[in-house]
Symmetry: C2
Subunit: 217 residues, 2 copies
């Protein structure tokens, strides 16, 4: 839909998301948002009460749309599938949600706002953690138990969750550094499928090592 035919409220929500992501909460001024969205400054307070109210709705909006488009449990996955294949789908969904333009668009889009929230959660984020992030993590935990086997230690599972999600999220988080330090590297946005393959292979190898160590011990 053409932005100009969205309602005032929706236009504010849209531009505020970009702006909060690009500049952070404090550096983003209501006047900037209003100008970008082509609305009056007072419209923000009218529709969202205050700047914090707007921010909270932006966060909720981004997460609900992101997980709706790329659920943590891929609809193509099926209980009969091997745990390895489900891991691949899980990684694919996560990376597409974070990096792709249909998702959060990486560091140049809403992804930047998410990155800020992960580092420094605001009160608006508490709800999001319970609704989206915890179930997401729990699904990964379940997959890893299957791959590593019941005899594994919970600690190793949790550390592996962090290792896998860390790889995925680091691609958003460090895009600008990656591009500066390794200019020979094709921009992240054009490489999503290669990144997915790599993270999957790398993680599967990592899990093999965790499994092997368990059996030795």
């Amino acid at each position: 839909m053409n932005p100009s035919q969205l309602s005032t409220r929706e236009r504010i929500l849209e531009y505020a998301g970009d702006m909060f992501g690009k500049k952070g909460f404090k550096s983003t001024t209501i006047r900037m948002i209003a100008q970008e969205a082509g609305v009056n400054v007072a419209a923000v307070n009218y529709h969202f009460r205050d700047k914090e109210g707007l921010y909270a709705e932006v966060i909720e909006d981004i997460f609900s749309k992101g997980f709706a488009r790329f659920p943590s449990l891929d609809p193509k996955s099926d209980p009969a599938m091997s745990a390895e294949d489900r891991l691949k789908l899980f990684i694919r969904g996560t990376i597409y949600r974070i990096l792709s333009p249909e998702g959060w668009g990486g560091l140049n889009g809403k992804g930047r706002l998410i990155a800020r929230e992960m580092m420094e959660p605001t009160s608006a984020f508490t709800q999001v953690i319970e609704t989206y992030i915890r179930p997401h993590k729990d699904r990964l935990v379940a997959i890893l138990w299957e791959i590593v086997g019941k005899g594994a230690r919970q600690e190793d599972i949790l550390l592996s969750v962090v290792s896998i999600l860390g790889q995925c999220i680091y691609y958003v988080y460090a895009t600008s550094i990656i591009e500066r330090v390794a200019p020979e590297y094709t921009p992240v946005e054009n490489n999503i499928d290669k990144i997915i393959d790599h993270v999957f292979r790398f993680s599967l190898g990592g899990l093999e090592n965790i499994k092997a160590d368990k059996e030795i011990a």
Copy 2:
């Protein structure tokens, strides 16, 4: 040294680092820094010209001290060592620099400021990338070539660099989320050595898989 016997200039540098990390550049006010450091507001402009000048010096100060204390090339490492052992030392140095109290102290210390800069580099960071980060990455690249073998593809090496550094850095970046989503997990700060072991094992397994794929292809 007792903070109260540091020079005005050094006290400002110290408290500004914490404050910029905790609240970000924009939200940190000169008045807050001055109050914490117990100096007059005008002292900041006197010693550092303006807020940006102060910020630039804070960044340079943090990186020079961090890499001096935990160099990317561990002094204990030795060319005769196996590449695997050097990888372990590399990961150890990186994680200690980022997480330990003698280093950047993770998300509760200067680590937070670094995390901000990685996501959104300021002009003060450009210098730091060339001086510290690029050589750091180049050392890891060299180690990985040895482990994976000369026949590997450059692309796989670069992706693996991101996978390994991503795991290390994610522990700073996501500490607060980790603690909220997995309360059963012991706080990151008390777990540094376990994290190092895990990242090393996981990464070695990942690299095995990269190596194996290369040989198949």
